[in-house]
Subunit: 566 residues, 2 copies
Amino acid sequence: MASLSPNETTLFLLALGVLLAGARILGEVARRCNQPAVLGEIAAGILLGPTVLGNLAPQLSAALFPRSGGGAVALDALMTLAITLFLLVAGMEINLSSVWRQGKMALSVGIAGIVGPFAAGFAAAWWMPGLLGLEPGSDKLIFALFLGTALSISALPVIAKTLMDLNLYRSDLGMMLIAAAVFNDLVGWIVFAVILGLMGTVGAGHPDIGLTIFCVVAFALLMLTVVRWLLHRILPWIQAHTSWPGGVLGFALALALVCAAFTEWVGVHAIFGSFLAGVALGDSTHLRQRTRATITQFVSFIFAPLFFAGIGLKVDFIAHFSLLPVLLVLAIACLGKIAGCGLGARLAGLPKREAWALGLGMNARGAMEIILGLLALQYGVINERLFVALVVMALVTSLISGPAIQAVLRLRKPRRFINYLKARAFIPRLQASNREAAIRELTQVLAPLAALPPEEVAQAVLAREALMPTGIGHGVAVPHARLDNLATPLLGVGISCAGIDFDAPDGRPASLVFLLLTPREDDGAQLEILADISRTFRDKPMRDQALEACGATEFFALVRAGQEEH
Amino acid sequence: MASLSPNETTLFLLALGVLLAGARILGEVARRCNQPAVLGEIAAGILLGPTVLGNLAPQLSAALFPRSGGGAVALDALMTLAITLFLLVAGMEINLSSVWRQGKMALSVGIAGIVGPFAAGFAAAWWMPGLLGLEPGSDKLIFALFLGTALSISALPVIAKTLMDLNLYRSDLGMMLIAAAVFNDLVGWIVFAVILGLMGTVGAGHPDIGLTIFCVVAFALLMLTVVRWLLHRILPWIQAHTSWPGGVLGFALALALVCAAFTEWVGVHAIFGSFLAGVALGDSTHLRQRTRATITQFVSFIFAPLFFAGIGLKVDFIAHFSLLPVLLVLAIACLGKIAGCGLGARLAGLPKREAWALGLGMNARGAMEIILGLLALQYGVINERLFVALVVMALVTSLISGPAIQAVLRLRKPRRFINYLKARAFIPRLQASNREAAIRELTQVLAPLAALPPEEVAQAVLAREALMPTGIGHGVAVPHARLDNLATPLLGVGISCAGIDFDAPDGRPASLVFLLLTPREDDGAQLEILADISRTFRDKPMRDQALEACGATEFFALVRAGQEEH
């Protein structure tokens, strides 16, 4: 049986390890800068691939990520598997029912959001094929169809993440945006599958385009109706009669793989099949939250980073960077999408400000564009220059969508208390046994961190405390003050085993005492941070664990883990 | 870049899908028969591979699981990845501290459990090389060393699972058995890694055996001391400063991959590195339960089934089955292990019955033997016939260990109520508003299922109810009766929205009314099933969800999922 040599195995495992580590580290860095993780993941691939490492240490890069031989085949196969599973998860996030519930308005935004950028992309490709990088000898129609489609698919995961970050996910605007994006995704993918069929036909010589298109459309309809209905009935049976969560987990993945194999066989890429399997599966309320989380976590934190880092390995991003196509693609993509969606929303009767926010939200492009670009590159429909331009466009539109919505709607991201908590102002065992002493003890460590005189700060906090006690119940107290000479909010915390009376409404002594200092002119800071503390520790297990934290690091870990779960 | 053709991609994904589905389905069937899932998983591979499908439809089997070309390399690479991750999980299950806590006795059982079977295996291989299948021209010493080692490693996961099934996991005997198995595992693996180095040297011509052995031992010591200590300090930092659970997940996998690459490079198989990474990681109390569960679930239910099904693909199990070596290997393995461990335990002062139970428990061999056998087969140290004999030995020893311990200790597996609950005796809305009517309503549907006259059964239950009411609190009541003409326990359940008074100690009316009928001579059944019902519904969320179940299937799914979590 053909297999990897020990040397190839070593390099294969090392390549995966390095790629995963790099992608996760830079992904975290990106998140830290409030950017989508995918940005860092691709950057890791660019660093390790031909662009940077390939230029600095060509032999090392070539040994780790070979371009021929068994190692290259193994990496390629794993990337195919990774993207297939990623699309399964992307599909699972789609909630078909919500599309119907949002009805006409979402539909008109969704359609306008496809037609606008598709028309803009198609026209640009048709009139300026050379500038955008049509390969000589390629089919101009397919090239134009590809570009139109590649510009019209919004990035549902990015949109969902942006809305969650802005606390808009459950708002009317948020639900409509999601519904429009889901619709956009579905239609965009079906169109794209057809075009892929066309590309495949041109490239590899498939027998019959008509048959491919028929199979794709019939398969999609079947998956979204009959199979979806069947799954909703089969899943509870599987959960009842097999080990948990192995039964459902195995079933979901096997289904996705078989569907992927089917669409690949029909002549469209495998990812379309697993995407539809995800949509059909994810819609069922019988898929338990935990099962869903296991698949999603493993795929989003292991397979997806590997795949996106793998993109950076594909081409030399510096050598193939060319400003004109990049700017052109970016401009066409933004204009087509924002204008299309905005107009669609206005026509459907949405107020002006919200219509533009909708357009800006839908403008986020992401993983999908990159995947489509990669396929087109492999089929020889586009060249490296356009591929780089598409990747840059996807990243830039994702980056600007959050801040742009914020600006248009004049929102600010809710602040999390944990971001202002100072590790050096964490007191695992408060000595104090009364309110005043506790406040002084915390002030002693917190005030110096902002170069403020502890005594003055303590006076301000005590004066505020005298107006109205700051116990907020559940054993938590948050004495606080607004100060003049402070640039940013500052938070310390002390744990008291015996509890200190802060006159809470529920009469319980406070075991967790936060000291919160905020700049005088920053109105929202105090309220937002207070609300966040109260929300976080409303949860009893969270409080109990917090009281047992022996150090700042553990406390941070606990709170972050808890906040991620909500 | 070398990649799979669309046709190869189709077959690769289809092969994975079919293999996974087959392995999971037969794995579940095996569990249903109270056998380890690995048995069914290997059986799936045997069905799909050369043994069955290869004989029935050679072309289909060869297309799905090719033996050459890109598809074969891709499958092989994925199997390598799967086993590497499986060993990470196996390592994570090892708790080094508990080995030290059990101290001298575990140590002496552990050592005797290695020396016994090793000596038996070595001697047999040395005196009967031809019978056991030494390849002509191979090194007899390496062959004998291999067989000795392959017979001496106990299957920790099988042992842990058996103990949990028998409710012995937290008992003194259980902890000692686990500690001895952990010790056995560690030493066995280090010995095996050294022998692998020797095999590799003979097969591929590595430069220096001494260096390999030195590297392996140094690496193992480093991982179990310094790295383990470091990880314990790094993990909280990662959890505090990265997204959860992605940070730890990515870190754990990247670490395992890099360690695997290192041991592969040194000349030992990759799995040893990821196993040590797992031991070093899993020991840290800072690895949160959920993160651990995500890795474990995904690996045990996706990667492990794929790998074990892949084993069935390797050889034709019927063509290479030969009774004499199978019986010989089985006899040597059992004798060496049971006698070795039993004597070790007796010498350490354990009573006779427990000593034999310990020996029988340690006798379970499993995944490890098969993996080692596979490696030896690939290196040409053993032939297919011995490989088949090793697989059969591993499966048979695993199968008999549970029942044998039960017999020696005269135990019985605690019964779960869900296994006796009849779907046809599930009443989602009880009409009855009092005790007697409820009992009659349930008897009407339950008694016919055992061909008993409902009225007689109702009389028996009401007579029992008159002696002492059966409300057990928390809104649950379990009226019951022992009957003469009943072969097996029988359980029905009805949900009452309004609640029915069953005179519970806490005074609450019962919303969940179980009707339990047990055979008169079966003493334990009633108590065990009652205890299990009470334990299951002590949990409030469980009760609340149970009350909302609209059908038997949903109710079953809920209870099974809940029981798995505990």
